[in-house]
Symmetry: C2
Subunit: 233 residues, 2 copies
């Protein structure tokens, strides 16, 4: 293999990068924050209220021992502090939050894991998004950031469970910037058991977000916390 | 467990059912026909031209030995002969074919595995479908049939490869009729290595069809024939 031919499995070293999790007081946000802190990252939980973020950070940090570096801040301060910024807010507030943080997020890798879903008596279903997907909305609102879509299918219950050492799923990582998707694939792989698999361009993010509705259906039928693995990779 | 409480893993016996594969001369159709014939099903390959269907059936049957029962017919005759009918036509001809076969397909389980995709220089992408998905279009056109969506992500290359004894993937099976989805889950499980996993209602079929674009991206990046497995199920 020529030196300039990169293996699709090569990962950059992201161990020294800090991670901010916006909307980090929700289940998915706390779950991801917990796993990144377990992996040794400096983690900042962001929330509208700095106080609630600090409370969540203290709670998540409690189970992790003295080495864990996890703090709370309002979303704007968290966005400034993170080398990588995960967006884990409810879909309702997605656009408004990102618009308000466009300056703080400039030049950063922004990792969108938001699933625009509705719920009715029949279960979950995908919502229409004018931009195509939450990730594409983020890209439209944050033209100076490098937007990557990832972490859609991780079960918050599993991430938060202290009995689970190894998380049995692959994270599909989508984006149009190879370095950014490689960085996020490496971040995913910091969670024990997880692989970060390149899953296509951002224009194909809708179905990955929407597939969460199917995974919810699987969970109901099988009483599971399902995830997906990609075979032959 | 009470006798009327069904395990989500229970499967009906489908060994005696015949399978028609409409559009069965294409790669995916031939691949599925081959695997169902290997499992001992009577298989009828359907095509616009009975002659081309017979040629494809002979070709697929060649590698399978004397026990295989695989024949060809025009699509209408194939639709009448199959206990279960798989729709594997190109998206272009999907609506017109099903409209023409509405009578032949009445009261049958129709298994739609069509992926409405477009392709350009950047790869594959999901097409907009007025009904939401190919499967929902089938449901709209075939009100007297029981439409199930399944087999979207199976690699034709793998299905057709005589060296592959065990196919390493799960088939997501979607539909609103429990008996029909259970039957199709059982059919999927007739392929060695495959599980049929309930994946939600038909209204959530779009993203399962569209995810094929992501799998094509995975295949390009990793030089793989990727599939998906569902974890914790």
């Amino acid at each position: 293999m020529a030196a300039d031919q990169k293996s699709p499995h090569d990962l950059p070293d992201v161990a020294g990068l800090s991670v901010a999790v916006l909307g980090g007081t929700g289940d998915q946000g706390r779950g991801l924050a917990r796993r990144f802190a377990m992996a040794g990252h400096r983690v900042v939980i962001g929330s509208r209220s700095a106080e609630r973020a600090e409370t969540a950070a203290a709670e998540v940090g409690q189970g992790l021992g003295a080495g864990a570096d996890i703090s709370g801040a309002d979303n704007a301060a968290a966005a400034r502090q993170g080398d990588l910024v995960v967006v884990a807010v409810p879909w309702d507030g997605h656009r408004a939050l990102l618009e308000s943080l466009a300056d703080a997020l400039a030049d950063k890798i922004v990792i969108d894991c938001v699933n625009p879903l509705g719920f009715d008596k029949k279960g979950a279903f995908a919502l229409d998004v004018p931009e195509g997907s939450a990730a594409q909305q983020a890209e439209a609102v944050l033209p100076r950031s490098r937007v990557v879509a990832a972490f859609h299918h991780v079960s918050a219950v599993v991430l938060l469970d202290p009995e689970v050492d190894r998380v049995d799923l692959d994270v599909l990582v989508l984006g149009d910037d190879r370095d950014a998707t490689d960085t996020v694939r490496a971040l995913a792989a910091r969670i024990s058991g997880v692989r970060g698999i390149y899953g296509g361009r951002l224009r194909n993010a809708h179905q990955v977000e929407a597939l969460t509705a199917n995974i919810i259906s699987v969970n109901r039928r099988y009483k599971a916390h399902a995830g997906i693995r990609i075979t032959d990779v």
